[in-house]
């Protein structure tokens, strides 16, 4: 528990009479890839929203690097190193790819109003440095050639990369990825796995929500399983895959069939 980069303690979120997240506790070790899985409606995205500062919990706490961040608004969490991508891609469609990544650096680029208006050397230096760093990030995710294109014009897979690039630009210690592989074909998924592993190598901790079992099993060091808002299992991928309660939770779903057959999805 000590040294965990993220810890949820008894987190509960209720909508009306229904507990979307019910007393969930788990922690994420730094520089690991941690998966959060469960059938639809298990509370994964709700938990993500709470962690990133959208919405209010009814009970429990969220700790980031040992500090309780319950009352912190999303921008403060972002400034402290928590980044997030969304299930439906939310790139800034009208802005260029480069501008999207630069926007990601908002918390770390210098340039107050005065320096901006007077175009002081400090401003120019900050902008050039930011653009240089943005180029590096775009190169890292494989979008270097697209930097001047309108973000909305990119193909789906590239927009996902852009969202990741933008999140990476905020220099996060922990990145939350909400179904990053959604809508991707096998080759795109493979490149994404590669990208995320390189991200991990750079020292970023990743917390993922995903349905793609192949993706999860290949990437994660540890997996927490939710069902109906409660944690039902937490272990390594190998153990989780053969855990009867997990299989039962997915019963009736395609994922469940595959789990049961003991085969790898795809």
């Amino acid at each position: 528990m000590n040294g965990a980069i993220l810890a949820l303690e008894n987190l509960t979120v209720r909508f009306g009479g229904l507990a979307a997240v019910d007393g969930v506790s788990f922690h994420v070790e730094p520089q690991t890839v941690h998966g959060l899985i469960g059938p639809n409606g298990a509370g994964k995205t709700t938990a993500f929203n709470l962690i990133s500062g959208l919405g209010h919990q009814n009970d429990g706490h969220i700790l980031f690097n040992g500090e309780t961040i319950d009352d912190w608004p999303s921008w403060e969490r972002a400034q402290r190193g928590l980044a997030r991508t969304f299930q439906n891609i939310r790139t800034f469609g009208e802005m260029t790819v480069m501008e999207n990544v630069l926007a990601g650096m908002h918390a770390h680029v210098g340039g107050g109003l005065g320096a901006t208006l007077l175009r002081l050397p400090s401003f120019r230096a900050a902008e050039s440095a930011a653009i240089g760093k943005a180029r590096d990030i775009l190169g890292f995710v494989g979008l270097a050639d697209a930097s001047a294109r309108r973000a909305g014009s990119l193909p789906y897979g590239d927009q996902r990369r852009l969202e990741i690039a933008r999140a990476l630009a905020s220099d996060p210690k922990l990145m939350l990825l909400d179904e990053p592989a959604a809508g991707m074909n096998p080759s795109e998924t493979a490149s994404l796995i590669d990208l995320l592993l390189r991200l991990k190598a750079r020292g970023v901790t990743l917390l993922l929500v995903e349905h793609d079992m192949h993706f999860i099993m290949n990437l994660c060091d540890r997996i927490t399983v939710l069902n109906f808002g409660r944690k039902i299992a937490e272990s390594t991928p190998v153990e989780v895959r053969s855990d009867p309660s997990v299989i039962e939770a997915y019963l009736g779903t395609k994922v469940g069939e595959r789990l049961e057959a003991g085969a790898r999805v795809r």
Partner: protein
């Protein structure tokens, strides 16, 4: 040649002044729309600026630069009072509160002896002119362009596109919202003061609902992709009724129609150019 220009300028004096003033008002609308908010307080802020400046000049004989500063400060304070509580609320509250402000100020101006009641204030000396008005407009435009091409400009556009995603990148949403509102109030107040000191006469009816919505129509017609859009919109909507006589009588109908058409069919407005948001060569 110069005589011709002189005559021309004289006959169309108030029209040319209006172009500059409305340009400033359009920019005051722009700064709020640029972050995805809707404030309809521009006319009210303009009225505050106009009355503040007129009263300072008429009753206290204050030096003009001070008058201009005051005409920006007073609306700024009003913006803080109205804006601060709505920062964490949905954008609807700000819109309603600013409409309400307009109405209340109008009532206050009409009922107060200090402000000359329904008849307004007259005899305001002419202390502003082409140079001042258009310099202010030019400076404001330059400032907006400089800010757009910077980290602040990126944050603003990010907020407009997707507030939640912007917050997740560390953009301090309440601070930006309040700042935009205050800047909008200051610009509108300045426009009001300048207008008062070229028109010599102001009345409460100039700053009501009609004016507020007209200012919105400038920005929506021109488009908010860049600071130039709303100014172009203001120019067109100021000139058009002069050029097309029938439009003059139905000016308000036309402005309302513009807004409806712009929102439904032309969300980007007329000016297609989108200003870039980097402060150096990308």
């Amino acid at each position: 040649m110069y005589e011709f220009l002189d005559d021309f300028l004289f006959s169309y004096q108030s029209l040319i002044y209006a172009l500059g003033i409305n340009g400033l008002l359009a920019l005051s609308m722009y700064v709020v729309l640029a972050i995805g908010q809707l404030s309809l307080g521009q006319a009210a802020f303009m009225g505050l600026g106009a009355y503040t400046s007129a009263l300072l000049t008429l009753k206290l004989g204050a030096p003009f630069p001070l008058v201009l500063l005051a005409s920006m400060a007073v609306p700024a304070v009003a913006a803080l009072i109205i804006g601060a509580p709505t920062l964490r609320l949905s954008g609807v509250y700000l819109a309603l509160a600013t409409i309400g402000l307009g109405e209340v100020l109008r009532i206050a101006f009409v009922n107060s002896e200090l402000t000359g009641g329904a008849l307004g204030l007259s005899g305001i000396p002419e202390k502003a002119g082409y140079t001042l008005i258009f310099s202010c407009l030019a400076l404001a435009l330059i400032a907006f362009v400089l800010v757009s091409r910077s980290r602040i400009g990126r944050a603003m556009e990010a907020m407009r596109e997707d507030e939640i995603a912007a917050g997740m990148l560390g953009v301090h949403l309440p601070r930006y919202r309040l700042s935009a509102l205050v800047v909008s109030a200051m610009l509108a107040g300045l426009a009001g003061a300048l207008n008062a000191h070229v028109s010599s006469f102001i009345s409460p009816n100039d700053y009501g609902f009609d004016a507020a919505v007209t200012i919105l129509s400038y920005a929506l017609l021109g488009g908010i992709g860049s600071p130039f859009g709303p100014v172009v919109g203001a120019i067109i909507l100021t000139l058009l009724p002069e050029v097309l006589r029938p439009l003059h009588d139905f000016r308000l109908v036309f402005n309302g129609l513009i807004i409806v058409i712009a929102v439904l069919f032309m969300p980007h407005g007329l000016v297609p150019w989108r200003i870039r948001r980097t402060g150096a060569r990308a």
